[in-house]
């Protein structure tokens, strides 16, 4: 290749390299994931996520790893009519993964179309979701075995960001902060949980002794409507359980949030707290 050709080729390669590098956009965040999974991510932001994933080396590497893991299931998922059974199956194959996030992934993938560009988005969101599921999974640490359940519930109240890393960096925005602690086998929790229109999730940080327990969460309205958010085994403590906004009551009002645990030897614990769903956004 003569020098002129070489210089033009250099220009081409430099330009393409720039094209494949994301603009100074942040890594897809946890709120992106939740919004995408709920079908609420704007087209504009979805495009940004895809562009970012196309060019960001760390996201791409994480994506490749994550998609390799989910490839087998993804093909099945896209044809799957019963998303619940898929989630169940996946839960059993990856017991450490967060059920809530997996449900979100299922919904997210379903909400996306089947164009090539969308497939990139699916892979991206699913990849992020899998990483997030692993991040949200309980840590495998040694647990204490003492006498009474101990609970601490943390509603999302503060716009605090945290960077976590598992092959990729994910900015978790609007995370949680502690508002109080309550201890006991069965008692009302003094702190109220307020959820505003722009909150994405409520995270409960649960410290439970003794372990393991079967954990159940439900909310009830003043008119008697009850919604069971499912059960899961808790083998380590503390554990963070995230309830996405889509699983909380849709309408404004006061609700009871009940967290119950059933352990060995008939040990039971439950906690009831008031959940206020606000129609207005949180004014930070």
């Amino acid at each position: 290749m003569d020098p002129t050709q070489s210089q033009f080729e250099e220009l081409v390669l430099r330009t393409v390299r720039r094209e494949a590098t994301p603009p100074e956009s942040p890594h897809p965040s946890y709120s992106d994931l939740l919004a995408a999974a709920g079908g609420a991510l704007s087209q504009e932001r979805m495009d940004e996520v895809v562009v970012h994933a196309l060019g960001c080396p760390s996201c791409r590497a994480a994506l490749m790893r994550a998609t390799a893991t989910i490839d087998r299931e993804a093909a099945r998922l896209l044809d799957e009519t019963d998303s619940e059974s898929f989630v169940e199956a996946w839960r059993h194959s990856q017991p450490s993964a967060s059920t809530g996030v997996l449900k979100l992934v299922t919904r997210g993938i379903r909400s996306l179309a089947s164009t090539p560009r969308r497939r990139a988005a699916i892979a991206c969101v699913a990849g992020i979701a899998v990483v997030m599921a692993l991040l949200l999974a309980p840590p495998t640490s040694v647990v204490r075995w003492t006498s009474k359940p101990e609970w601490r519930i943390e509603p999302a109240t503060t716009p605090q960001s945290r960077i976590v890393s598992l092959g990729m960096a994910v900015a978790m925005s609007r995370y949680v902060s502690e508002v109080g602690t309550s201890t006991g086998t069965t008692e009302a929790y003094n702190e109220e949980i307020e959820v505003y229109a722009d909150d994405l999730a409520v995270a409960l940080v649960l410290e439970v002794d003794p372990l393991p327990v079967q954990l159940g969460i439900q909310w009830t309205s003043s008119t008697g409507q009850e919604v069971d958010l499912g059960k899961q085994s808790l083998g380590v403590s503390p554990c963070r359980v995230t309830i996405p906004r889509s699983e909380l009551p849709p309408d404004a009002g006061a609700y009871d949030l009940i967290v119950s645990a059933r352990g060995h030897e008939g040990l039971k614990g439950s906690l009831r707290t008031t959940l206020f769903i606000r129609a207005e956004p949180r004014s930070w």
């Binding site: 050709q5 033009f8 390669l13 330009t15 494949a20 562009v51 090539p116």
Partner: protein
């Protein structure tokens, strides 16, 4: 006008991706969407726009062989971008059909691998040089037409060189 470079970059990537399929982007549609942004943009914006547009022009006026070679060139260029994928060799890249450019980012293909991926003769080593030559001619002509000034040229190697 405020130029949203993230938007234009994303749109260009969508067009780039279409070179992998049966309907490469048309100069007209690229112009309609992106020309005004390029006119308002800096040199990097213009280079990115014009490279894409030149490839579209080449695809429009070239034979099917040219389009295939251009397809291979696009794969080759994008495989040189992004962080290097250490598993590229073992993942079967080059032996399967690529449907999205993100699949080749970082794969660091050779021209031969790129040509093979689109079904071209991998031993036709001059094909890439021909594409680069034709593309450069289109690119230089378009730069003058669209942006109203000649390409800056710099002395060197006994030949004019692109320095924008």
């Amino acid at each position: 006008m405020t130029i949203d470079t993230a938007f234009t970059q994303e749109r260009r990537l969508v067009y780039w991706n279409r070179f992998l399929g049966e309907s490469p982007p048309l100069v007209g549609e690229i112009d309609r969407e992106l020309l005004s942004f390029a006119r308002e943009g800096n040199d990097e914006e213009r280079q990115a726009f014009l490279l894409l547009r030149s490839c579209a022009q080449l695809a429009e006026e070239g034979s099917s062989a040219t389009r295939k070679n251009l397809q291979a060139a696009v794969l080759y260029w994008f495989s040189q971008a992004g962080s290097e994928d250490p598993d590229a060799e073992t993942s079967g890249a080059g032996r399967r059909k690529v449907t999205n450019l993100y699949e080749v980012l970082g794969c660091r293909w050779t021209w031969q691998q790129s040509a093979e991926a689109v079904g071209r003769n991998p031993k036709d080593y001059s094909a890439y040089r021909r594409i680069i030559d034709r593309l450069r001619a289109v690119y230089e002509r378009m730069w003058s037409e669209q942006f109203g000034r000649a390409l800056q040229r710099r002395e060197g190697h006994g030949s004019d060189a692109i320095a924008v």
